[in-house]
């Protein structure tokens, strides 16, 4: 099929919803920079449209190609993770960034895609009768745990947990026996218990700042000007928005810099403050629709790779926005996870657009089969 004709078959509603979300983002970035295209809005627009075109290009490429390169993507992703561990730029006490001259890459973000691809590939190739075989459960588990440990050592606990969550999710969708998840869940709870028991002893398993974050998460009022400051201020911004918001560019919390990271991780608070309940619910609905269209798309595909790929990537997208929103509302501890397509940032934008490129490719080639 002619690649240009293929474009007609992409999931147009999904594509439009992506565009709508991004427009929301531009609007907010323009506002938090005090009504200016600089320094965030312009680069964000450029990045978005370049990667938006990339989606079309990727969707025209056959899904079998993406399937074939999946193992290599995984190896490359892991290599980058190791590279960042040794050569990465240090920022905020963690090595997360790899300066590739042209682009500053956060390999842990990109790795989420390659892991989903690799797992989908693995289950696509694995005979169905071996899905729940203990050995074939351990292999994908290793594929998940090893990179997660590297990310955890950066240290970036949040992303490490998200990687594990997405990986387990793909395994769940792939049909691994339910007993494993029950067992896993129980052992996770036990681990959590041990973690908290380790606090203050010489075999403490987490860094002090992790524990402190958990403390302030549980009760932000303990330290309203210190670590709890972010949560307190962002809740004030959210709540003061009310039903209709304070008006575009009228949010005192964001315009006066009370909000931390207002252009990146906390941009949802600005939206909430300036557009109120309608704005936040509106964005939530758009996000839900994106997820819904992805699920429909997954159900419409005929091969296991496409199906697992779409649900896995969709889950990645879902974790982004649900964790971010829960975080700014104080339902989850503050972990550095951006609001997808809205927060300023190159790495997450590219990762998300790449995953949509893959989803669209799977959608376009849903009837091809292989």
């Amino acid at each position: 099929m002619n690649p240009f004709i293929k474009i007609i078959y992409i999931n147009w509603p999904l594509q439009i919803l992506i565009l709508a979300t991004a427009l929301f983002g531009f609007l907010m970035l323009y506002s938090v920079s005090g009504g200016s295209w600089d320094p965030w809005t312009k680069p964000q627009i450029n990045r978005f449209f370049i990667s938006f075109i990339l989606i079309f290009v990727m969707s025209a490429i056959s899904i079998s190609f993406w399937q074939k390169i999946s193992p290599f993507c995984y190896i490359l992703g892991l290599a980058l993770l190791i590279a960042v561990y040794f050569y990465g730029d240090t920022g905020m006490g963690a090595k997360r960034w790899l300066d590739l001259r042209i682009i500053k890459l956060q390999p842990s973000e990109a790795f989420k895609i390659s892991m989903v691809m690799a797992l989908a590939y693995y289950y696509h190739k694995l005979p169905v009768n071996k899905v729940s075989h203990p050995f074939y459960v351990i292999v994908p588990l290793l594929l998940i745990i090893i990179p997660a440990l590297i990310v955890f050592r950066q240290p970036d606990l949040g992303t490490a947990l998200v990687i594990i969550m997405i990986g387990i999710f793909v395994m769940f969708i792939a049909g691994v026996h339910f007993g494993y998840f029950l067992f896993g869940g129980l052992s996770f709870c036990t681990l959590l218990f041990i973690l908290f028991q380790s606090r203050g002893t010489d075999w403490q398993l987490l860094k002090d700042y992790h524990f402190r974050r958990i403390d302030t998460f549980l009760d932000p009022s303990v330290d309203p000007l210190g670590a709890g400051y972010h949560i307190t201020q962002s809740k004030i911004a959210l709540g003061s928005g009310g039903l209709f918001g304070r008006g575009y560019m009228q949010g005192s919390q964001s315009q006066l810099n009370f909000l931390p990271e207002k252009h990146t991780d906390f941009i949802f608070t600005t939206l909430a403050e300036e557009f109120g309940f309608f704005g936040t619910i509106g964005l939530l609905i758009i996000y839900s629709l994106i997820v819904a269209f992805c699920i429909f798309s997954a159900l419409a595909t005929t091969d296991k790779f496409s199906r697992l790929l779409i649900t896995g990537l969709c889950m990645t997208f879902f974790t982004y926005f649900s964790i971010n929103i829960a975080m700014v509302m104080g339902l989850l501890p503050v972990v550095g996870i951006p609001l997808p397509l809205v927060s300023y940032g190159g790495s997450s934008m590219i990762v998300i657009m790449l995953s949509f490129g893959l989803i669209q490719s799977a959608h376009v080639h849903k009837n091809v089969g292989f």
Binding site: S252, L259, F277, F318, A326
Partner: protein, 645 residues
């Protein structure tokens, strides 16, 4: 494995995948619902609370300090002013490299390496948007120079603030006092706390009129409601309430007289008070040595402070109102008045002075070794005979002497807005019993009779006493213009006119009769004749042995041991207008040291300027001319010296 089985398994797994995708979708949907529910709670249910919190975050009240009331002299010459203080502040966040900016600044104004380091250190301690004062009290030239160079000095901001400045500071320091940065102690003693005091380094009155009339001078702060950002920087002003500047204060002091008197007393540890008898206005109140109150405004250095504190001549003390001295012979008028009022002695009754007064086995000596012979009261005042007043004091008794002393204004503090007002002291029998546990002796009364012993008076009290004797009215001193509600009509003292006339005549003779103790220091202008009384108060006790061997001359004693020289007078004799007292600490004899000073000051006031030499006896004219010209020259050279401009 059969193909069939495989297919069933495959379809089974396939259905399971399908089912799980749907299950996961439902889980996601419920997560979204949970998020939505939480958003609803925050944005709809609790919205009002959060709106209040957001406002509390955003709005900040800033105080605009009021400009302090000015202090003027009686003619409206400003004494305490608010001067524009050219200063520059530095906001770190506006400069890329503060070190570089400071270096550049040092090429424009004087800013040594040490000061630069100090500024950089101060900056590190504070938030980056807080302005740090780099230099204060800049000259206009430097200030302009910096303003022109601003584009190359990022972060530097020229500012104009108001700082207290004292004109004629040396002669006014003890009256006006000074302001200084508020201390924690000051804040604690203030109740209720004026919000303006919380401005860091806000200047409040510390001493003198500045302190006592603080509430009048301070004014009320304005309030500016500003929007601030998270780091506390002001973004814009929302509203502004104007404050009220402090009230201006007009003193009763006449600056030209004040300056003359301080110049005349310069070099001594002395004080003088000149009162307008009719109104009670204090026209001059001088204490020397003085200090520069301007040094206190921005906080005085420890070494300067120690120097002032350790000076044995006590420059910080207002000797005119805080210094209490034995009044010496100036107290004799009190004893005389009491005796005459009680009819214990007639105007023509005489008492014999043999040079000493016998009391049991003890002799009380007269200052004149051979004695004065027979004296009337008028002559006793004129010659300041001690024996006469021993006798008189014994007749009157300490209680009635004390009553008269209080009536004439001793032993009490006046309601003046000055700090450290001393009440002086009028002793009583009861006090001695309580204080020392011993009974009052006749000898004590004799000592009181000549102003020695326990009684103490301040120069201000002596001037008031003289004013009351000269007018027969209850003259009360005041230092704030128009503060006396009934200036022309003070209460009469209810002392018989005859009594007053006799005392005044005695005081007149002190200067104008040949044997008067201050005859040398009379004036020859018949319209301005001065009546007064000398006083020499002993600081040490003269033992019998010393008296036998010959009393050591004052000049041979260490400064601290020398007698205080006192003189109190009024003029013109026929129509008393002004009362004046002069006390020179450890100056020696009142007649030799204090009287000439008093004459110069009094004549200055009577003439309304430097007196002509013709007012002095012929023999003294050459010396007087030299002295007066010297003072005039010094006053002129000192006028309008402003160390800060």
């Amino acid at each position: 494995m059969s193909k069939f089985k495989d297919t069933t398994l495959k379809s089974k797994i396939f259905r399971r995948v399908h089912r799980r995708i749907v299950l996961a979708g439902l889980l996601k949907a419920s997560t979204v619902a949970l998020l939505g529910w939480n958003i609803r709670k925050l944005q709809i249910e609790d919205s009002e609370d959060y709106k209040l919190l957001a406002d509390a975050n955003r709005v900040n009240l800033r105080l605009i300090p009021p400009s302090r009331g000015l202090i003027f002299d009686r003619l409206g010459t400003p004494i305490a002013l608010n001067e524009q203080n050219y200063k520059i502040v530095f906001i770190r966040e506006q400069a890329a490299d503060p070190r570089k900016v400071l270096k550049k600044l040092a090429s424009i104004i004087e800013l040594d390496q040490k000061r630069q380091e100090k500024i950089l250190q101060d900056m590190k301690k504070r938030s980056s948007f807080i302005p740090i004062t780099v230099a204060e009290n800049l000259t206009w030239k430097d200030f302009a120079h910096i303003s022109v160079n601003l584009p190359s000095l990022p972060g530097i901001i020229p500012e104009v603030g108001l700082t207290r400045h004292y004109q004629e500071y040396e002669s006014y320091a003890h009256i006006v006092g000074y302001v200084g940065p508020i201390s924690d102690k000051d804040l604690k003693s203030e109740k209720p706390v004026d919000p303006v005091l919380q401005i860091p380094k806000f200047q409040i009155g510390k001493v003198g009129v500045e302190k006592k009339l603080e509430t009048h001078l301070r004014g009320r702060a304005g309030v500016s409601k500003v929007e601030v950002n998270a780091s506390g920087r002001v973004m814009r002003e929302l509203s502004r309430t104007q404050g009220k500047s402090g009230e201006n204060i007009h003193l009763t002091i006449a600056t030209n007289l004040q300056k003359f008197a301080s110049e005349r007393l310069k070099g001594m540890s002395a004080s003088s008070v000149l009162i307008d008898i009719k109104s009670g206005d204090i026209l001059s109140l001088v204490s020397t040595p003085s200090y520069n109150p301007n040094n206190f405004v921005l906080g005085i250095s420890q070494s300067d402070w120690n120097a002032l504190l350790n000076d044995e001549r006590k420059p910080l003390l207002n000797k005119a109102t805080s210094g209490a001295y034995p009044p010496g012979s100036t107290f004799k008028m009190v004893v005389a008045a009491a005796a005459l009022e009680l009819g214990l002695i007639g105007l023509n009754d005489k008492i014999f002075c043999a040079g000493f007064y016998e009391l049991g086995s003890r002799n009380f000596h007269c200052w004149l070794k051979g004695g004065h012979g027979k004296l009337t009261l008028q002559e006793a005042i004129q010659k300041s005979c001690d024996v006469y007043f021993y006798e008189l004091a014994r007749k009157v008794g300490v209680k009635r002497i004390g009553d008269m002393a209080r009536r004439l204004g001793l032993g009490q503090a006046y309601n003046l807005p000055l700090t450290g007002l001393s009440k002086g002291f009028v002793p009583t029998k009861k006090w001695k019993k309580e204080r020392f546990g011993t009974s009052w002796l006749v000898g004590d009364t004799l000592n009181v009779g000549i102003g020695q012993g326990f009684s103490l008076a301040t120069p201000l009290q002596l001037a008031v006493m003289t004013a009351r004797l000269a007018s027969g009215k209850e003259v009360t001193p005041n230092i704030i213009k128009n503060s006396n509600k009934n200036p022309d009509n003070p209460k009469a003292l209810s002392i018989k006119e005859n009594t007053l006339v006799a005392i005044r005549k005695g005081m007149f003779d002190v200067l104008n009769e040949k044997d008067g103790t201050a005859f040398n220091f009379r004036t020859t202008n018949h319209n301005f004749l001065i009546a007064g009384k000398t006083g020499t108060s002993q600081v040490r006790r003269i033992t019998r042995e010393e008296r036998e061997e010959g009393v050591i001359k004052n000049e041979d004693l260490p400064w601290k041991m020398r007698d205080h020289a006192l003189f109190t007078c009024f003029a013109p004799f026929k129509n008393p207008k002004y009362a004046l007292s002069v006390v020179v600490e450890h100056g020696g004899s009142g007649s030799k040291v204090a009287a000439p000073i008093a004459r110069d000051i009094m004549l200055f006031q009577l003439y309304g300027g430097i007196p002509p030499v013709t007012a002095y006896p012929e023999k003294q004219q050459v010396e007087a001319r030299k002295r007066l010209m010297d003072i005039e020259k010094k006053i002129n050279s000192r006028t309008n010296i402003n160390p800060n401009i």
